[in-house]
Structures are given as structure tokens and as C-alpha cells.
């Protein structure tokens, strides 16, 4: 009965294209984990964006030698570090840098890698050989060495870090998307689209990539978490954002020395990374399910 009513409704507004996004969000909402992830991550983003109204940037970088390694208190919510800087303020401002670098680097590496991977997988033959062999050059150098080289050559700043991380991570997407496309371009509906007169670019964009989207998105969300941690490695080696600018990875590596005496220094930045990574992963899982029309009830 209800279904008939829905069908009736839909046939009444029949000149409207069905809204994909509404449908996807409806399915996304059904998954509890995904909603928890989405709410947590949105909260984190809102708090980070409003950092200026919560604590002044001054307290994240001003050193206070009266209060070194102070325990969490009313005055300093998350305590202070070895220079007497407020950890709460450093988490807020550090999160801004860490997350924006991670998000941007993930998105650029995903777009860049997906396009190259789709071209390699779809055209195959010489194009594929050319792309994959040049990729081998990138992959023959260890990631960390490669990123270090790029950062050293270009200098450590916001844009260069994104470039370095993109170059280190896009190869994953090339291989992932290529393998998906190799499989998908053999599908009958691609053959059918060709027989219907669609060109190559149209087939890649409107038939193959939407089918590979689930896998790409899950990988993307996993990579955001990875890149946040990867940045900390760079900071640890002194190649991250230059101090005193706060950054989660840098805070972790500094806290390492005081692990026994002031564990809160380690706990808060690590907790922030885990919170972001987990909530993004939950969103990714939810999105994957929501984007898969087979699971539509």
C-alpha cells in the first residue's frame, strides 16, 4: 500500500530527475556507526574552525616557564608542555594545520591518481605500459625518502607538504583505480554504452568511475588517517611545518621524551588523531554502503 503511494507520488512528479543525493543520505542515515562518525567529525571541524573564539593563538605559542609540564587543570584543560605552552590551544590550532593538509593532500592525490589510473586501465596497451612503468620509478624510491627529497628540495611549508604527500600517495590510487577499471571496462554495460554511441571520456566518467566510487571512497577515508600519521613522521624528522607552529605529529614526537613523567602530553594529540581517523573511517564505511545501490532496501 505504502509502496504504491510512493510510486504514485513519484509518477506525479515525473519530469523531475530522481535526486541521487537525497537517496544516498537516506541510506547513510540508517547506519549508526556512520552517523556517529559524521557527528563526531563535524563537531571536531566546528571546534577547530572556531578555535579563535575559544583560546587565543597566543597561548598556543607563548612559552610560560612557571608552568612546565603542568597536569590538566581548570586553567589549562589539557595541561602544558615542556615549554609551558597550553596543550589544549596547541591541539586546536595544530588540528587546523594537520587536518587541512591531510584532507587536501588526500583529495589531490585521489583525483590525480584516479584520472591516471582510469586512463591506464581503460586504454590499456601502450598507454598502460607507459603510465605503469613511469609509476615504477616513483615506487622504486621508498615513500619517506621520496617525500623528504621533495620537502628538502622545495622547502617545508603548507603547499609543499601537500605536493610532497600527493606525490607519495597518488600511486596507490593509480594502481587501485586501474585494477578496478580493467575489470569494469570488460563489463557488458560498457560495451552497450559504446554500441549506443558514447565516447571514451563519457564512458570513463559516467559509467566506469561511478562503479569504482565505493572502493575509491573507502580508500580515501583510510588514507586521510594514514596521512595524518605520516605527517607526524615528517615532523618527527624535522621536515613538517616549522616550529613553533603547532601540529599534531610534531606534538607527539616532542611528547615522546616526557612519556613517563607527563603522559598527558602524549595522550591528547594521540587521542585527537585517533578520534579524527576513526570518525572518518566510520563515515567512509557508511558512504560505501550508501553508494552501493544493491544494498538499497
Amino acid at each position: 500500500m505504502e509502496k504504491n503511494a510512493i510510486l504514485q507520488n513519484e509518477s506525479n512528479m515525473k519530469y523531475k530527475r530522481p535526486s541521487q543525493y537525497k537517496e544516498i543520505f537516506r541510506r547513510f542515515r540508517k547506519s549508526k556507526g556512520a552517523m556517529i562518525g559524521l557527528i563526531t567529525f563535524t563537531l571536531v571541524l566546528v571546534i577547530l574552525l572556531c578555535a579563535e573564539f575559544i583560546v587565543p593563538y597566543e597561548s598556543a605559542i607563548s612559552q610560560n616557564f612557571d608552568q612546565l609540564l603542568a597536569k590538566p587543570s581548570k586553567e589549562h584543560l589539557f595541561g602544558t608542555d615542556n615549554f609551558g605552552r597550553d596543550v589544549f590551544a596547541r591541539i586546536l590550532y595544530g588540528g587546523k594545520t594537520s587536518l587541512s593538509i591531510a584532507l587536501l593532500a588526500t583529495i589531490t592525490s585521489c583525483i590525480f591518481g584516479s584520472i591516471i589510473g582510469a586512463l591506464a586501465g581503460y586504454f590499456g596497451g601502450k598507454v598502460d605500459q607507459l603510465i605503469m612503468r613511469s609509476l615504477d620509478i616513483f615506487m622504486s624510491v621508498p615513500d619517506i625518502l621520496f617525500t623528504m627529497a621533495v620537502v628538502l628540495a622545495l622547502g617545508a611549508n603548507f603547499i609543499n607538504l601537500i605536493i610532497a604527500l600527493t606525490l607519495a600517495y597518488f600511486t596507490n590510487y593509480v594502481r587501485l583505480v586501474r585494477s578496478q577499471v580493467l575489470n569494469l571496462s570488460e563489463q557488458d554495460y560498457v560495451e552497450a554504452a559504446k554500441a549506443g554511441g558514447s565516447g571514451n571520456i563519457r564512458i570513463i566518467l559516467s559509467h566506469i568511475l561511478p562503479n569504482a566510487m565505493g572502493v575509491i571512497i573507502v580508500n580515501l577515508t583510510l588514507n586521510i588517517a594514514k596521512i595524518i600519521i605520516y605527517q607526524s613522521t615528517l615532523s618527527f624528522l624535522g621536515l613538517g611545518m616549522p616550529p613553533p607552529k603547532p601540529e599534531w605529529g610534531l606534538m607527539l614526537s616532542e611528547a615522546r621524551e616526557y612519556m613517563r613523567t607527563a603522559p598527558h602530553l602524549l595522550f591528547f594529540p594521540a587521542g585527537a588523531i585517533v578520534l579524527c581517523a576513526t570518525s572518518i573511517n566510520l563515515i567512509g564505511d557508511g558512504l560505501r554502503d550508501a553508494l552501493d545501490p544493491h544494498l538499497k532496501s
Binding site: S11, E191, A195, G197, S206, N211, P293
Partner: protein, 328 residues
């Protein structure tokens, strides 16, 4: 009746002397060897043959969709409305595909994109070849096409997996017909469906063909389908057309190629008392190493010395053409 005959003398598609190979590093498969085919306006040609005879390769050659790394058209002509499609470049072919010639594939389960609603997929085909019409008109045409194949237009928002196999094949046929092509190529359109649905889909195809006046190339290995839907028949064996003619010639004619006789003997007959069918012994020759004489000689019960030596020429009896030494 005379009117139809007069109209039917106009050719829509003529394949002349076509030779297609699949070439890999290791071997060369001679898939199509010098075939001739004619499809008349508003008529249906049935292309019959066993697996591997080159039926699908013929269809893909017409649309120029052979796998680009291995398939090659060596020579011949494919004249569509008097223009040789082999002279067209890729962008001209894209304008032909779907718009003038469209194709229905064998398996409806996989010929629809699983991530888009079916209406959206039909709409895409319409938008692709009609850039100037507005969205309302596109949706109106989607509704019309769906009603034409007997699907409620309100179901256009549903995804392919929400349809049954027969319904999916209807959607695929709707997609192929939405631009009212002049020629429809149906590559075993009912092989993946069960018999009752097969009958429905075939009846629908015949009905639509009569209503829209579309010419059709029906590829099948089922002689029952040919008798039901086709006007003309071509029997294909190892990349050659070994017999062709009207349905009457093939089903009721006196003289036949021994292979066609074998095909008919392989159909169970309700009236006959025979305990077993009489299949054709042996297998089709290896397409990488075809015999130089008649391709069917090895399996033929009328084999003569000349069959091994020389490729038989065609013998013509009015509309009926047979390629066999028995009649030469």
C-alpha cells in the same frame, strides 16, 4: 502484400566480401571469411550458426566495435544506406551507433549499469544524440519508451537489480529503440532468459518492429526463433555464409547444404518416433587453421574429393543461395 514486397527491395545494409581476423602474438583466428549479407528495409534477417561461427563478430564489425588490440577488418565493405561504414572515422561512427544502428546484447543481467536508475540510463542515450532537446522532453521520451516495452514509467527511478531478467531485457530493448534506429542488431536477445519470458520478449520485438518499421539483424542459434521472427535467414559456419534465403527457402526448400540438414536433424520433433536425435558428428574446424577446401568437409556425409581441394562456389536458386559442391 505487394506493397511490402516492393518496399522490401530497398537495401538498408549490405555486407560485401568481409574478412575479419583476430590477431594475437601467438596465432591468427580467421573469424569471418568473405561473407555477403543483405538486409532489406523493414525486414528481419536471422543469422544462425553454432557457437564460434562468427555471428557476434559480424555484429561487432558492423558497429566497428571489435576489440581494438586484436580484431582487424582485412577487406570488404559494409554499406549502410549506400555508405561504406568502413570509411567512417571514430567520431562519425559514434554518431551512427545508437542513433542509426543500435544493438541489444545477449545478457540483460550485465548490460545495464548497476549504479544508475534505468530511466537515467535511457535518458542518457537520448541526451547523447539529441543535445538540443530540454529535460522535460527527454523525460517524456523516457516514459514513452518504457510504456512501449510494457514497463510502468513510474519504475524508471528503480535500479537494474530491482527488475527481473525479462524486465531488464525489455529495458535494454527500450534503450536500443528510444532513438528509433533504422537497424536493430539483436545478439541472441533471449538466450539468457527462460522459455516463457523468451516468448514474451520475442513477441514484443516482432510487434515493435512492425510498429516502428525497424530493420533487424537477429543473431541466434535457435531455429525456432528464426521461424517465428525472421523474413530472411543466413546460416553461418566457420566464418562463412554457407546457405541463405528467405525463411520459406530454408525451412521448406527442397535443396539444402548438408550442414543445414544437420541443424534441422538436431531439433527434437514431437511427432517423430526416433529415440535419439541425429546430431552432426565432429566439431567445427580450428579457426586458427582452417581447411583450404570446404570448411564443413570433415563432418559431411556427402564428402567428395573436390571438397578437400577447393572452396565451393555459391549456387543460386532464385532467392536461395547455397555454397556446396553438391549443387555446383
Amino acid at each position: 502484400m505487394e506493397m511490402v514486397n516492393e518496399k522490401s527491395n530497398e537495401l538498408i545494409l549490405e555486407i560485401k566480401d568481409l574478412k575479419v581476423i583476430y590477431k594475437t602474438d601467438l596465432e591468427t583466428v580467421e573469424a569471418i571469411n568473405d561473407i555477403e549479407l543483405k538486409i532489406y528495409k523493414g525486414k528481419t534477417l536471422g543469422l544462425v550458426g553454432e557457437t564460434g561461427a562468427g555471428k557476434t563478430t559480424t555484429a561487432l564489425s558492423i558497429l566497428r566495435l571489435l576489440p581494438s588490440n586484436t580484431g582487424r577488418i582485412l577487406k570488404g565493405q559494409i554499406n549502410f544506406n549506400g555508405h561504406n561504414l568502413l570509411d567512417y572515422d571514430e567520431s562519425m561512427m559514434q554518431a551512427v551507433r545508437g542513433n542509426l544502428i543500435s544493438m541489444v546484447f545477449q545478457d540483460p543481467m550485465t548490460s545495464l549499469n548497476p549504479v544508475f536508475p534505468v530511466g537515467e540510463q535511457i535518458a542518457e542515450a537520448i541526451r547523447l544524440h539529441n543535445t538540443e532537446i530540454d529535460e522535460e522532453e527527454v523525460q517524456r521520451r523516457v516514459d514513452d519508451t518504457l510504456s512501449l516495452v510494457g514497463i510502468l514509467p513510474s519504475r524508471k527511478v528503480e535500479y537494474p537489480h530491482q527488475f527481473s531478467g525479462g524486465m531488464k531485457q525489455r529495458v535494454v530493448i527500450a534503450m536500443a529503440l528510444c532513438l528509433e534506429p533504422q537497424l536493430l542488431i539483436a545478439d541472441e536477445p533471449t538466450t539468457a532468459l527462460d522459455v516463457t519470458i523468451q516468448a514474451q520478449v520475442l513477441a514484443m520485438i516482432s510487434d515493435l518492429r512492425n510498429r516502428l518499421g525497424t530493420s533487424m539483424l537477429m543473431i541466434t542459434h535457435d531455429l525456432g526463433i528464426v521461424a517465428q521472427t525472421c523474413d530472411d535467414v543466413a546460416v553461418m559456419y566457420a566464418g562463412e555464409i554457407i546457405e541463405s534465403g528467405t525463411v520459406r527457402d530454408i525451412f521448406l526448400g527442397e535443396q539444402h547444404h548438408p550442414y543445414t540438414v544437420g541443424l534441422f536433424n538436431s531439433i527434437p520433433d514431437l511427432k517423430s518416433k526416433a529415440k535419439r536425435l541425429k546430431p552432426i558428428p565432429g566439431l567445427m574446424p580450428d579457426p586458427t587453421n582452417l581447411p583450404k577446401g570446404c570448411k564443413f568437409a570433415e563432418r559431411c556425409e556427402h564428402k567428395m574429393p573436390i571438397c578437400i581441394e577447393q572452396r565451393p562456389n555459391v549456387t543460386t536458386f532464385g532467392t536461395h543461395i547455397i555454397r556446396c559442391h553438391l549443387f555446383g
